[in-house]
Symmetry: C2
């Protein structure tokens, strides 16, 4: 009933990482750890793998192991709502990221609604929906995958279907067509990425993603928009501001 050797080494290294004991962020090589701790390479690698899967380390083939550094960018879903017509697509991502060279790659299409989309938009599974898929980066680093779904009859013939930035912003566009959104439901899961997501977001092992699903409703309580945002955990903090329902609107910092 003793602790396995690989777990012992993992614990030692975890403590040293927490104590910032690798100032240059570089760990000893596998062979050095083998000598220092009198273990086989397999056991050393097992310990290092464990730390990688905790998101504490990354490995570079032919180079070495390094302590992960995080920089979190604030993701504010509420900006979607506050957005007004500006020269840019004025949602949370574009607005907050103005100075960090935001780029995005847009694909637009018409597909049959999958089950989860149909349920949220309150349409039948297989009904046609317009889908806008956006892969968005900051300074060349991918920060989110954003997939929006709209019922076809609502947006057909509008700029939503053009694979370019929507100058007014998608919400303003919907409002201009008589579908102003006054309420949104946010659902957030957090899980490990699927292989395609990991590839697109350039995520290493041990880094989870959040899946943020927004459903937008009109004053008539009609669901007119569903968005699925995939966020890599090493680069995002999700932020909300809330005021008590009984309290008049407060100023926002």
């Amino acid at each position: 009933m003793t602790t396995p050797k690989h777990a012992q080494l993992a614990a030692v290294l975890r403590a040293r990482i927490a104590a910032d004991d690798f100032p240059d962020g570089r760990l000893p090589s596998e062979s050095e750890l083998m000598k220092e701790h009198a273990m086989s390479r397999t056991t050393v690698r097992s310990a290092l793998k464990e730390l990688q899967n905790e998101g504490l380390l990354r490995s570079a083939s032919g180079v070495g192991y390094f302590v992960r550094r995080f920089e979190h960018f604030s993701y504010r879903p509420q900006d979607d709502f506050r957005a007004v017509a500006t020269i840019q697509d004025a949602d949370s991502f574009t607005q907050a990221a103005a100075k960090r060279n935001p780029t995005q790659q847009i694909e637009v299409g018409i597909v049959r609604a999958p089950k989860d989309v149909a349920r949220r938009l309150r349409i039948a599974e297989g009904d046609s929906v317009v889908v806008r898929r956006r892969y968005r980066s900051l300074d060349g680093v991918p920060y989110q995958i954003n997939v929006s779904y709209y019922p076809l009859d609502i947006v057909s013939g509008t700029d939503v279907m053009v694979p370019q930035d929507i100058v007014r912003g998608a919400n303003q566009l919907l409002a201009d067509h008589g579908y102003a959104q006054v309420r949104a439901l946010d659902e957030i899961w957090f899980r490990m990425p699927k292989p395609e997501e990991a590839r697109w977001l350039d995520i290493g092992p041990g880094i989870p993603v959040a899946e943020h699903v927004i459903t937008g409703f009109t004053a008539d309580d009609q669901a007119v928009r569903m968005v699925r945002v995939i966020l890599p955990g090493d680069r995002n903090v999700i932020t909300f501001d809330r005021v008590h329902p009984d309290h008049e609107r407060a100023s926002r910092p």
Copy 2:
């Protein structure tokens, strides 16, 4: 430039899992996979490890490998705010979970404020704060770790310092002492659990956690409460309702 054998096996199994090809949820044993795919045990184990770290599989020593099943419980931070005096501590967890045998273990103490707490409560690092640590379960299954911090001068001598349920609810208690909260800031990170968190929440490999930090403010914009909630990703969805700031309050479903 070919795909490694372990990755090939992982891809095959991943596809079979997605197609629900293991009706009883049980995978072939390691030795069966070795025969079927003509690989060494190490390679087979490497593939299975990969899928475990994606949260798709769990292993049971001496038994086998199984497909993970998820059941997500809705975590609604806004209930904290809407809470009024009831017979129970009326926050999001207790209220929503009433029928699922909620239990919690409470520890209360006075500690020196760590850096992140001090910053959010706008006090000096090392100032005394009251900390309430709650480990909360549903039907015996751990669902969250909830750690609340209060500036000592605000809550000293109140029920906050008693290691029991606060009958009125902590927010109502603060309000009764003249510190009604009207605004909250939510910050949500998602990452792999620390070993203690994994132990307490009974999390296997490949399951991330969300760290939800709430900071509560009075009408004078004084920070009176900071809460850190740790949520296991296989058992929680975070849910928010939002109404457009220009729109009168809508009814909530």
